[in-house]
């Protein structure tokens, strides 16, 4: 091949770059699509169907074959075939158009849910993947981890009871903690409560929740609840949500006696020359980051104030126990303080 024409060379290069981009771009790259298709064998389809049935039954809705074909990305004939096979192996009962899980099917579904939630916990505690990626990665992993590996993982994580979104993780025997509390849209104005669960599906709404910087475990007070918007105060900030978004937040109401930190605000709101006392670290601060903050003395009762502000503003140094420690704004938002005086 003659490569002495520079224009032709540039065009060749552009074509190659485009091809590589189409092949490897995140999510929709051909490479990933081919890889996913190779992976979507019968076992994966069965497990996805079981999980779908399990969630619908828990929500109290009956499900038909039609619903399944709409909700899952598999081809219709594939779903029908797999459903028939599942009926034969007694995972489900087909009654006309309706589908129900057998106890055996339920047990299987709970196991998959266990892997999914444990893996989300693992991603949150032991890796640096962004919150928005946990769900997709767990969706992939839930089909791959066998029983023993799952138990090892649970032990490694200290047999957690809840996943990072606040969903209970089934134990090895299938026991699960109860979630108490109700969806935020159902709560009357002036309710005091604690956010105990943030639903991570559908993606679009979860991304909005993430963008608002709403933290699980934070105490809230509802100030407005209409069919147009839900407004609540939490950690010194005001949050305004569309009802469809607020519906994905589960709040456990608290009685006045158990409210300890109503005047808690985020460290990020501290101004220069203000004095404050640390109340604790938000549940959103996990794993290595959390331990590091504790090591540095960010514990309840410690006085704190701003020492220096970086010329580019985002990073601030705080005076804690006589030493100056710099944190970024997103971290400071996860430390709760009480302003003094």
């Amino acid at each position: 091949m003659n490569l002495s024409n520079p224009i032709q060379n540039l065009l060749l290069f552009a074509a190659l770059a485009l091809f590589l981009y189409l092949f490897f771009r995140p999510v929709n790259g051909w490479y990933w699509i081919i890889k996913n298709n190779l992976n979507s064998n019968r076992k994966v389809v069965i497990e996805d169907l079981l999980k779908q049935l399990y969630t619908s039954e828990n929500a109290g809705t009956l499900i038909t074959t039609n619903d399944l074909t709409l909700r899952l990305k598999y081809k219709n004939h594939q779903i029908i075939e797999v459903l028939q096979e599942m009926a034969l192996t007694e995972l489900i009962v087909l009654a006309g158009d309706q589908i129900q899980l057998t106890p055996l099917g339920r047990e299987y579904a709970v196991k998959i849910v266990r892997v999914h939630r444990l893996w989300e916990k693992y991603l949150a505690e032991k890796t640096g993947f962004d919150k928005s990626e946990w769900h997709h990665r767990a969706e992939d992993m839930e089909h791959r981890l066998d029983h023993e590996a799952t138990n090892e993982l649970a032990v490694k994580l200290g047999n957690p009871i809840f996943d990072p979104h606040g969903d209970p993780i089934p134990s090895e025997l299938g026991n699960m903690a109860e979630i108490t509390g109700s969806s935020m849209v159902n709560l009357p104005v002036n309710t005091l409560g604690k956010i105990v669960h943030i639903e991570d599906e559908p993606d679009v709404i979860y991304k909005q929740i993430l963008a608002e910087n709403i933290h699980i475990g934070s105490q809230i007070r509802i100030v407005e609840n209409t069919n147009k918007r839900v407004v609540f105060y939490s950690e010194g900030e005001e949050f305004i949500l569309a009802p469809i978004v607020a519906a994905n937040l589960t709040v456990e109401p608290l009685d006045a006696a158990s409210i300890l930190e109503e005047d808690a605000v985020r460290l990020s709101s501290l101004q220069q020359n203000e004095m404050a006392e640390i109340l604790g670290i938000s549940k959103e601060c996990r794993g290595e980051s959390r331990r590091r903050l504790l090591d540095l003395g960010f514990v309840r009762g410690t006085p704190i104030q701003i020492d220096l502000v970086s010329p580019l503003s985002d990073t601030k140094a705080y005076l804690v126990k006589g030493s100056s420690i710099a944190l970024r704004t997103d971290q400071a938002a996860k430390v709760l303080i009480k302003k003094l005086g």
């Binding site: 640096g128 970086s310 140094a317 944190l327």
Partner: protein
Amino acid sequence: MSAADKIIEMSNELRWRLGNEFHDEITEGIYADAHEIVAETVTTDSRKGRNAADIAIDKIVTSKIWGFPIMFLILAIVLWITIIGANYPSSWLASLLLDTIHPALKDGANYLNFPWWLSGFLIDGVYLALAWVISVMLPPMAIFFPLFTLLEDFGYLPRVAFNLDYLFKKAGAHGKQALTMSMGFGCNAAGVVATRIIDSPRERLIAIITNNFSLCNGRWPTQILIATIFIGAIVPSVFSGVAAVAAVIGIAVLGMGFMFFSSWALSKTLLKGEVSTFNLELPPYRPPRFWKTLYTSLIDRTLIVLWRAIVFAAPAGAVIWLISNIDIDGYSIAYWMIHALDGFGWLLGLNGVILVAYIVAIPANEIVIPTILMLTVLVTGIHAGEGAGVMFELGSASETGELLSAGGWTLLTAINLMLFSLLHNPCSTTIYTIYKETKSFKWTTVATLMPVFMGFVVTFLVAQLWRIFFQ
């Protein structure tokens, strides 16, 4: 069911009832207790904790107005002292090791009737590469590292990290990478070792992999020489010095640009799963312990790096001599390699000589230019230097320029050599250090291949655009 099983079952049951937050509560309890014990038993002299002088210095070095100018001024002074100051001991070492001892060794070998290939292999190959690396590498490192360590010891460097953190945050990196990057201006291997100050695994890997984009001591002289010969020549001679300096600084700044870009790209792709935390302690200032600093920086940084470079340079010298002196079908191996790579080199706006030089001179960037000159003589048959496989440098930039022009060099070759000198694989000392630090074959490979791949792409694009617009 045995008694043990019953106990295990009961413990599981009890664990379940403890609830979700007991781990945190225990941890916080321990810290709170420790805090109380400290409060009761340890007395501190001042309740404020920080002394007035520290606060005053901090106010200036992190201020919106003075923070950045002070930083750039200090970096510029350190680099200037290093580059200028290193010239004297370097030329002294070069005249001793290259001009005095080298001929003496040759004479000695002749006197002892060494066969020509043995004295060539040992003295022109191994010894010369060692001598070259020591004379060019040792002085700048022995000046740069103590200066840097003094600043570190004083407590100023964490403030630099603090000032620049936002920029690095945008690139998914840690503010302390500003320090390892500056250290890389001295030596990339030392820069890689210095990433130990970053305790977050993801940001540390980013700092290690991108350190090579800091133009190191071994590459400054190449940049300055080529810029003086070719860039200085295209402007009126009054401005030639300024133009050459501007070109070199431009390359260094371009390197920082590539560092930020690849940090960002790595943190969004390959490294997004690695654990990431951030904190930065701003320690109190203290007067630097001059002699101790001098000693530790010479021992810990300079000599360790120099030793690694020597270990790698010796075999490289042997290889350089061998490929120039072993003939196949009437021509040396070097000739055949140059020939094979000429086409690819031309596509990148470089040439076969440059690519071969970068392959065989992988142990140290310092010997790239001598190798290029030697190979140019080898293929063009011009009468210069001391024979096949003997690296050399010419007395003046203009002589070097004439030789290179005779070797077919153009302005494009010079610009692309400067770019390729910035964007190519780290030297073998650095690669080895990366492996020692990461203990990972995978990350060492990424750190080695990513820059050279970027170098291919950049020089290729520049060459094509150049040929469209200027030819």
